[in-house]
């Protein structure tokens, strides 16, 4: 035994210890890496030995190497070995190495759990202490979870040394394993009143840090801390407590008042006794190895700077609450701008931002401009530049009294070397020039100079930032060209070949604005008697523009070629001595008005529309699916009525619909594969869920009700007028968006298209289909709609009788019957209209043309139906022109070309020789009345042929393919009503029967199994209609499901009628 130890000791004598290693490294300054690699090899050898002392020595050296930046992760296991040594000397080194080298992803940490637990419960307090210290550096969530209880026990250890360590480490444990907070908190609170000041301060530390993350939970501790604050003399603890109160006071305002007194006392005490002398005093005591005097000097200076920085910090805090008191220190702060230290300069800049007023703005900016010139380092200069612009433009240029001054500041800023903020300057120039009308003359003059001297800005390609300014300059010169002194010169400057080196988007602006300038120049020159000047200008354009036509940038190319052609055309006209300037000017006439980014807010919300209210009831989570979807089709009784379903009130329905929609909307994979139906019937995948998404998107667009749309326009008008009036007086609006789409600009007077805010989009939509109250508005204001419906239906009822009489005399050639279903989703409405025949049946001349029509919903637009009318000439004469007209009603109107009156007919785009037929498509908004006036011009007789179109429910159905699994899902969704019908004596084969339903009623087959088929269709208003058709012998039973009961009934009636005819 002794021999072994002796042997180990002798070995050790030959090993390098840490001191040797450090010395070695210092002696091998030239080949440090080489030396260290040999050392690492030695260490590897040492780690292989059994002797723990050798290992510990190796690990100690490794820790040093780790600090120097060498990877020692390979030795992680050896570190654990040393950690688990029973001797404190080695254990200490092991833990130190672990705390330096381990991090959360070190996998051997898992092995340490039990070792640490053993050390924590060691009778030796230093073992425990060293374990706790180590743990604080490499604690992982796993370790925290496993050891939380052990550490919690240590919080009540008899030794304060352990207690305070345990308390502090609990903070780390809470961070890694938050669940431990709740059980540990009472004990932690106890520690606030621990007799040992160290433990107490540790507890304050932990609670303070916790409270910073979530102050609310610690409000109840406020009285305890208050007591501590007044009683404690430990400054460290006091600072922490004050910090804690800082987090608590925002939550409990009363606390602030209470704190004033003790805090003032504290400050007095510290000021008189400690702080002012404390730091320099202590610093002076630091031994400084012979250079104490100089060190002391700079430490003193540093102290002054420390205070300066903190003073600025404090001022910026005070500025928020008491701006006046800080403003008096303006000179001091301006002095700080001269400081060598960047942190102080930046702080001072921040302060200046809040300090400016109308009076001192110019002075401050002047001072800043001086600094810009002096400043070294682009980052600081850029910071200065942005600050200048920020300061000037804050609160909508509130402090700027003279905009000429501001423009010249901006122009001066463009001369900055290498700034990256050209874009910022450009946007400021544009903003000011557009919004401050009075400044334009000055601005244009400045910009013209800039353009003239563009080579100064573009001279260096590196300075890509600043050439952005030319964008603004070109635009301003072009747009406000009437203010230019010498437009020809500026035009010349804009068309210099050098421009081609600028970035594409700037060139594009150049080209466009050259055209504007050209227009102005033309205007001025045309007044003269000498026309050569004008022609010379055109020639200049024609000479220079090809340069841009060859540009690599598409935008430039496009604009240039377009304008080049235009100029060529103008030149042609000029040669004919045509006065063209007016017309060219008209291209760019009109004022561009900025729109405030918040303009939308000024549009009042229409009465009765609460944007925050739920349109439908929010879906409840507890909604239970009590319905067995498959069971519905399983029932055979034809007349079976389902009271349960019909009883479901509208509200409930809406709720379910909403819930389903939400679910579908949230689920991009709405179609889920169900185990029952793997068959893919449809080829085009995913087609069918597009409409589902569309429903949700289109709905909000229709929200504002019809009567509001005019009001909107008026209000918008008023607002804009007001804005303009405002602007004349003073600039108030902040304009952010640069206009786009200049091409669209017409000669529309002061009101340009650019003014139209997105709000109008909504209006347009409502105007387009005013008759159609949307699904949503139905639910919002049912009362108004009820009235609307009632009127209509009573009218229809009256007509009905008349019509039916007439119908008997009428010669009808229609292949099938249609019933109108006004399928806009308003259930009530359809009740009334569903079966009414609206059409005017009028006698048709026997030899006259004949129409067979097919009506189909328009797939693109849910509010339209497309009617295909077949005109067949049955008479002998040639039909030269025909006109097709519809008497517009409340519910329907013919889609006419723009500009035609409400009663104009549509000319049928073909002529009809005798015996021929042709098809014409008409788009009709919810059409009810259709009348055709074919004019027989040959015999110079005008014949009017009235006819009627039947609009049936199913003509509003759109045959939509549907996947079987989506179909199953739909049935399961539970918001479909069901109904069924039984047909007797149908003799046709089953597939004929299906084909007939498909053709006549626009259904599509989802799935067919033997003598049973499921079919699907949807209405143009996106009501789903599902059918299950079964046949047995001559009996056909049809079960149908639909989310709109009236539609359902009518569809079934129609199908029944179809089959009763055969």
């Amino acid at each position: 035994m002794a021999l072994k130890i002796v042997k180990g000791s002798i070995d050790r004598m030959f090993d390098k210890n840490l001191q040797d290693l450090v010395r070695g490294i210092r002696n091998h300054k030239e080949d440090e890496a080489k030396y260290i690699s040999t050392c690492i090899d030695e260490i590897k050898q040492e780690l292989k030995q059994d002797n723990i002392a050798v290992k510990a020595n190796a690990v100690c050296k490794l820790t040093y190497l780790q600090m120097l930046g060498y990877d020692v992760s390979w030795a992680a296991f050896n570190i654990v070995e040393v950690m688990s040594s029973s001797k404190f000397t080695y254990k200490r080194i092991g833990y130190l190495a672990a705390s330096q080298c381990f991090h959360e992803s070190t996998d051997v940490i898992m092995l340490t759990t039990n070792q640490i637990r053993k050390d924590l419960s060691s009778p030796n307090q230093y073992d425990t202490g060293v374990a706790l210290t180590g743990l604080s550096c490499f604690v992982t969530p796993d370790l925290a979870r496993d050891l939380a209880n052990d550490i919690m026990t240590l919080m009540s250890h008899t030794k304060p040394y352990i207690r305070k360590k345990a308390v502090l480490i609990m903070y780390k444990v809470f961070l890694k394993y938050p669940e431990s907070l709740r059980p540990a908190f009472p004990r932690l609170k106890e520690k606030l009143e621990d007799p040992d000041p160290g433990v107490q301060s540790a507890a304050v530390n932990v609670i303070c840090e916790l409270a910073r993350r979530n102050p609310k939970n610690y409000l109840s501790l406020a009285p305890l801390f208050f007591k501590l604050m007044t009683s404690s003399t430990n400054n460290w603890v006091l600072i922490k407590i004050i910090k804690l109160f800082g987090a608590l006071t925002p939550l409990e305002p009363r606390l602030g008042k209470k704190l004033i007194e003790p805090l003032t006392n504290l400050i007095h005490r510290i000021m008189s006794a400690d702080r002012s002398v404390y730091i320099p005093f202590l610093v002076a005591r630091v031994r400084t190895k012979g250079e104490s005097m100089s060190v002391l000097k700079y430490v003193k200076a540093m102290f002054v700077f420390v205070v300066k920085y903190l003073g600025l910090l404090a001022m910026s805090k005070i500025l928020k609450t008491h701006p006046k008191s800080v403003q008096s220190h303006k000179d001091l702060i301006l002095q700080c701008l001269d400081d060598k230290d960047e942190s102080i300069r930046l702080r001072a800049l921040d302060l200046l931002y809040g300090m400016v007023s109308k009076k001192n703005l110019m002075e401050i900016v002047k001072k800043l401009m001086l600094h810009v010139d002096k400043a070294e380092g682009t980052t600081y200069r850029d910071e200065l530049l942005t600050k200048i612009i920020d300061i000037c433009s804050q609160s909508n240029y509130q402090y700027i009294t003279n905009f000429e001054w501001y423009i010249s500041i901006l122009v001066e800023l463009t001369r900055l070397e290498g700034t990256r903020h050209g874009h910022l300057i450009a946007s400021q120039m544009l903003d000011v020039a557009i919004r401050v009308k009075a400044i334009r003359v000055f601005a244009v003059a400045q910009m013209a100079t800039l353009l003239d001297n563009a080579h100064l800005l573009t001279g260096n390609v590196q300075r890509k930032g600043i050439c952005e300014v030319l964008y603004a300059a070109a635009w301003i010169c072009g747009e406000f060209s009437e203010h230019l002194d010498n437009p020809t010169q500026t035009l010349e400057a804009m068309l210099r070949p050098k421009v081609a080196t600028l970035p594409g988007h700037i060139q594009a602006v150049y080209v466009q604005n050259a055209a504007k300038l050209f227009a102005t120049v033309l205007k001025s020159q045309e007044g003269n008697t000498d026309s050569t000047a004008a022609q010379e200008t055109s020639q200049l354009m024609i000479d220079r523009l090809p340069l841009f036509v060859q540009s690599a940038n598409l935008e430039v190319q496009e604009r240039a070629s377009c304008i080049l052609q235009l100029v060529k055309y103008i030149q042609k006209l000029q040669q004919k001595d045509v006065e063209i300037a007016e017309e060219v000017i008209a291209l760019f006439a009109g004022e561009l008005n900025p729109v405030a980014p918040k303009a939308q807010k000024k549009v009042p919300v229409p009465e009765g529309l609460d944007l925050d209210a739920w349109i439908n009831e929010p879906p409840s989570e507890s909604e239970s699916e009590d319905e067995q979807p498959r069971a519905i089709f399983a029932k055979e009784e034809p007349k079976h009525s389902r009271p349960r379903h019909t009883e479901v009130d509208e509200k409930e329905l809406a709720k379910r619909r909403e819930a389903r929609k939400q679910e579908q909307a949230n689920n991009p994979f709405y179609i889920k594969s169900s185990p029952s139906s793997q068959k893919v019937y449809q080829e085009a995948p995913g087609v069918e869920h597009i409409p589902v998404v569309q429903i949700d998107l289109s709905v909000p667009l229709k929200v504002p009700g019809l009567p509001m749309s005019d009001q909107y326009v008026k209000l918008e008008e008023e607002r804009r007028q007001k804005d303009r009036a405002d602007k004349k007086k003073k600039e108030k609006k902040k304009r952010k968006e640069k206009r786009s789409g200049r091409g669209k600009r017409h000669d529309s007077g002061p009101e340009s298209e650019e003014d139209i805010t997105p709000a109008h989009m909504v209006d347009i939509v409502t105007e387009e289909m005013p008759e159609v109250p949307s699904r949503i508005s139905n639910t919002i204001s049912p009362s108004t709609l009820w009235v609307f419906d009632d009127k209509k239906s009573s009218k229809h009822k009256k007509k009905k009788q008349k019509k039916e009489k007439e119908e008997k005399e009428k010669k009808k050639k229609k292949k099938h019957h249609h019933h109108h279903h006004h399928s806009d989703g308003g259930g009530e409405e359809s009740v009334q209209n569903g079966t009414v025949e609206e059409e005017e049946p009028l006698p048709v001349s026997r030899d006259g043309p004949d129409q067979v029509n097919d009506i189909q919903g328009n797939l693109q637009d849910g509010s339209q139906v497309v009617v295909s009318v077949i005109f067949e000439n049955k008479c002998d004469s040639f039909l030269k022109s025909m006109e097709f007209n519809v008497l517009d009603s409340l519910n329907s109107k013919l889609q006419r070309p723009e500009g035609s009156g409400p009663h104009d007919g549509l000319t049928v785009p073909f002529q009809l020789p005798p015996g021929q037929s042709n098809v014409c498509l008409f788009v009709i908004h919810y059409l009810l009345f259709v009348v055709v006036f074919p004019q027989n011009e040959d015999s110079s007789t005008h014949e009017k042929l009235d006819f009627k179109l039947h609009f049936t429910c199913t003509s509003y159905l759109i045959s939509t393919p549907c996947y079987s699994d989506a179909f199953a899902k739909l049935l399961e969704s539970g918001d479909l009503k069901c109904s069924s019908v039984k047909l007797e004596g149908v003799v046709m084969p089953f597939h004929h029967l299906l084909a007939r339903i498909c053709f006549r009623h626009h259904f599509s087959v989802v799935e067919r199994i033997d003598s049973c088929a499921s079919m699907y269709s949807r209405s143009i208003q996106d009501h789903h209609v599902c059918l299950l058709v079964k046949t047995s012998g001559q009996t056909v039973s049809i079960d149908a499901k639909c989310d709109e009961p009236t539609l359902l009934g009518n569809v079934l009636d129609e199908i029944k009628q179809t089959f009763s005819q055969c």
């Binding site: 130890i5 000791s9 840490l18 450090v22 820790t63 040093y64 600090m67 120097l68 930046g69 990877d71 992760s73 001797k87 404190f88 000397t89 200490r92 130190l96 330096q100 991090h103 030796n124 230093y126 202490g129 060293v130 210290t133 604080s136 550096c137 992982t140 305070k164 360590k165 502090l168 480490i169 903070y171 780390k172 000041p197 160290g198 301060s201 540790a202 530390n205 840090e209 910073r212 430990n234 460290w236 910090k243 730091i279 202590l282 610093v283 630091v286 031994r287 400084t288 190895k289 060190v295 700079y298 200076a301 540093m302 700077f305 420390v306 920085y309 903190l310 060598k340 230290d341 942190s343």
Partner: protein, 154 residues
């Protein structure tokens, strides 16, 4: 406190203590960046600087820079005080501490730091207590080593 670094005027790292778990790569990157930034500052500049989203408090004692990174809400002055207190502790322990003391006894420097700070928070504000703990722990070590020596003799 997030971490503490000690480095020489030549930029050589003398001590590092991390209270946030970071990978070695990140540690190295931060160290390199921070050492450069701090060394570039002139003597008359402020001891606090804003760096990334942290505040760095540093102080130079002779040829050594003591540098701490704290969070935004932390108090800079108290951090400065912590640095100073640590220097005092080193001074007391080594008796007129110099850079070489820290280089050659770097593990001791760590032990002192660990007694003073734990998990980035000041653990013991009393210098006396810290030094007592260190001395006792050292004593423990000494006695053990003594025993080994004794066993050699016997």
């Amino acid at each position: 406190m997030q971490f503490m670094l000690l480095f020489s005027r030549q930029g050589k790292l003398r001590l590092q203590k991390w209270y946030v778990p970071l990978s070695d790569k990140e540690k190295k990157k931060i160290t390199r960046e921070l050492v450069q930034t701090v060394l570039a500052r002139k003597p008359k500049m402020c001891s606090f600087l804003e760096w990334r989203d942290l505040k760095v408090v540093y102080k130079r004692y002779a040829s050594l820079y003591f540098c701490c990174a704290i969070e935004d809400q932390d108090n800079e002055l108290i951090t400065l005080e912590i640095i100073h207190r640590y220097v005092e502790l080193l001074d007391k322990y080594f008796g007129s501490v110099c850079e070489l003391d820290i280089i050659f006894n770097f593990e001791k420097a760590y032990f002192i730091l660990d007694e003073f700070l734990l998990g980035g928070e000041a653990q013991e504000t009393s210098k006396k207590n810290v030094l007592k703990a260190i001395e006792q722990a050292d004593l423990l070590q000494e006695t053990k080593e003594q025993k080994v020596k004794l066993s050699i003799l016997h």
